[in-house]
């Protein structure tokens, strides 16, 4: 029975939850699941109570280090695990006006890292203009999260490796596995071969080479209802396999836990893995990971300029608990006084060695 459900998910996964008018496209519905019986019955503790036990409630921000900007939910892929519910049918993209407001903040922020994400950020028609302008702001680490296949999706994207190099962009790319089967299962047929080709193109212009300043890191998400293993061991396996099989070099591997929201939540429920997965997350709870969880040093900006504690809260439409809620009113001091908004999905960032957009945290 599970197999047939999974086939249905795969078939449906050609479209976003939103385009399918799935009830889980509604963030309220997702929050109802996350606050549901598993937690309300006391079987598992609420995240709030768990961190209170180790004296870590309320979660408060530390110094802002990372400004993460989501320039739109449009994407050339429809990955089964996507927490953004991104896809070709998503039309929400950042306007140049909002980008101007972001630039104003980028020029004045103390954050050392600017992190552009999506969807496929490159699909925003103002993406290149934005990168050119932002790269002038003198931010130390300028990340673009690229899904790799976009580089090969259309002729107009073929020069992206050169473009990234020109602006000294730090490329962070998703690569769920070093074998074809697992990659394509999660991200779609043909994604593995295209990703390999894109990585080779990035290597050709100097990205990811052992002594190169052109940083190329990979992101690993488990392709299923299980947690990532030790990041160092995974990195060793990825490096060996990609070098031996495809002569590919990269710098670091970030192991990121899938959070139970959006399409991954849909998958967990449909495959009858939700309860076990939440147990796994809660059992792997690590107070040390809470110390360094990414919402304590990050602000996430949505395509329409709203501010969130992280990209996951953005997808659940849980805006920052602050008087300042929009990029146009941005103020470091006011925002720094906020309490971070939490729910049960937060267990995803505190499991095991912890998880953030920069990999493990503990």
């Amino acid at each position: 029975m599970t197999q047939s459900i999974l086939r249905d998910i795969k078939k449906a996964a050609k479209k976003s939850l939103k385009a399918r008018e799935d009830e889980l496209a509604n963030t309220q519905k997702q929050l109802e699941v996350l606050n549901g019986e598993l937690f309300s019955s006391g079987e598992l503790p609420y995240f709030k109570d768990k961190i209170a036990k180790s004296g870590q409630f309320p979660l408060k921000p530390k110094t802002l280090e990372v400004l993460q900007i989501n320039v739109g939910y449009m994407c050339n892929q429809v990955c089964a695990h996507c927490h953004v519910d991104a896809g070709p049918d998503r039309k929400e993209i950042m306007t140049r006006e909002t980008m101007e407001q972001c630039l104003e903040v980028i020029r004045n922020t103390g954050a050392h890292t600017l992190d552009l994400t999506g969807g496929a950020p490159e699909m925003n028609p103002d993406f290149r203009w934005f990168v050119e302008e932002a790269s002038k702001a003198g931010i130390k680490d300028f990340i673009v999260r690229s899904n790799l296949t976009i580089i090969l999706a259309n002729k107009k994207y073929h020069d992206l490796p050169e473009f990234f190099k020109k602006h000294n962009v730090h490329v962070v790319s998703s690569m769920p596995h070093y074998t074809r089967g697992k990659t394509d299962k999660q991200r779609g047929d043909g994604v593995f071969d295209k990703s390999i080709k894109a990585l080779q193109m990035l290597n050709e212009v100097g990205y990811g080479k052992p002594d190169s300043d052109l940083r190329l890191d990979l992101v690993y998400n488990p392709s299923g209802a299980f947690l990532p293993a030790d990041q160092t061991a995974m990195e060793r396996d990825f490096k060996k396999a990609l070098k031996e099989d495809f002569d590919i070099d990269f710098h670091n591997l970030f192991a990121i836990t899938n959070l139970p929201i959006s399409r991954f939540l849909d998958y967990l429920i449909a495959s009858d893995n939700y309860e076990d997965y939440m147990y796994s997350l809660v059992e792997a709870y690590n107070p040390t990971a809470v110390e360094n969880v990414m919402c304590t040093n990050t602000i996430s900006v949505s395509w329409d300029g709203w501010l969130y504690d992280c990209d996951f809260n953005q997808m659940l439409d849980l805006k920052v608990a602050s008087k300042v809620k929009h990029i146009k009113d941005y103020n470091d001091d006011v925002l720094n006084n906020r309490e971070i908004v939490i729910s049960q999905h937060c267990y995803g960032c505190t499991a095991g060695a912890g998880s953030s957009c920069q990999g493990t945290v503990a």
Partner: protein, 111 residues
Amino acid sequence: MANSYYDPADLRKFGNITEWSEELGNKFFEYYGKVFEEGALSAREKSLIALAVAHVVKCPYCIDAYTKDGLQRGITKEEMMEAVHAGAAIESGATLVHGVQMMNKYEKLSM
């Protein structure tokens, strides 16, 4: 009472065995944890050995646990199946090697 000898949810309660014998339970889990750390063998190799043994001792809890553990470690399904065959080969070999005993006995008893 459960109407089946095995309940998948019982695997989560494995740690509860310490409740009725704290010292022995803790000693076991400490030993168990130590065994599967990186050592002369990698944790990845030990996970595959555990998966093979899980099949040989036919422990459904262990099969669930080490299939998941293998997935987490990025072990491929081909590697997992080969490990199961390694276990099965030893198990069937262990049966078949007794054939020699049968042959010996047969010869001894026969004129």
